[in-house]
Symmetry: C3
Subunit: 115 residues, 3 copies
């Protein structure tokens, strides 16, 4: 079973595909001037782009791990989540509080999906 790696940086790959599953890196927003909802929209757009790059789609999402530096902002994150998510194909999800590498990042999301 081969491994296909997409978009390597110096420390990680944005997407790794193996045995019918794609694993995405923890994704954060590029434009950190946005609020929690706006950053979440950016993160989910980037997840859409990476899933497409791997030949899959949010309808095949398996899991989502969500980290918020302030768990009290979960409702704002969920507003963007609810606009984006495929209600017929929701993943197993966990959402907890953790500070992120850049204090300007207000949300980080890592997903896996079937390919």
């Amino acid at each position: 079973m081969s491994i296909v790696r997409h978009e390597p940086s110096s420390i990680l790959c944005n997407a790794v595909v193996h045995n019918g599953v794609v694993y995405l890196a923890g994704i954060t927003a590029a434009d950190t001037s946005a609020d929690v909802k706006g950053q979440t929209v950016q993160v989910l757009d980037e997840i859409d782009r990476l899933l497409a790059l791997c030949g899959t789609h949010k309808s095949k999402i398996l899991t989502a791990s969500i980290w918020l530096p302030k768990i009290s902002t979960r409702p704002q994150m969920n507003e963007a989540w609810n606009l984006w998510s495929d209600k017929a194909n929701l993943p197993a999800r966990a959402c907890v509080e953790s500070k992120l590498a850049d204090p300007a990042w207000l949300v980080e999301i890592a997903v896996t999906a079937a390919v």
Copy 2:
């Protein structure tokens, strides 16, 4: 390889099965009047129920991710874990501190298992 999704809420599914693996959502206690050990018992009971729903069992557990809002309560969580876990079939496990979505939740656990 098909995807089977169980118990969707508005934001997630409690269990997603794909390619011989079930992924459970991060599970928390329904009765938050319980202490850490009591909430962990509830969480592990719910995990048993969801694994059974997917046709599997804790003896086939692969991984467990555990979040505690106070890492100092790990011994109380482990008391319930030790009563529940199948000593011949223990998972790879990580346990770290993170605040959870509801401050009344004292433990959250997400597991994967072979189906």
Copy 3:
């Protein structure tokens, strides 16, 4: 699809193999007198050992989850990461702040790899 479990302790296995994937437990340093970089070196050495035990290698790593009790120490962790990681075969990675079970632990890393 069988499950192979390596190095059980009383609460977890250090490595669980299923369906062509190995899942490692969250690994921490044995010698906690070391600083963040030194503890990360120890953790990555232990990951090498466990991957070899399962018949695989860091070149087949799929994902890495990294927890730091102080996210500000990420650069020191990354120094060790950059010396260790296989630049042609980088994993999907997420790195967030969480306190760990022992306050002397300065980094915890859980990886998955193809076998």
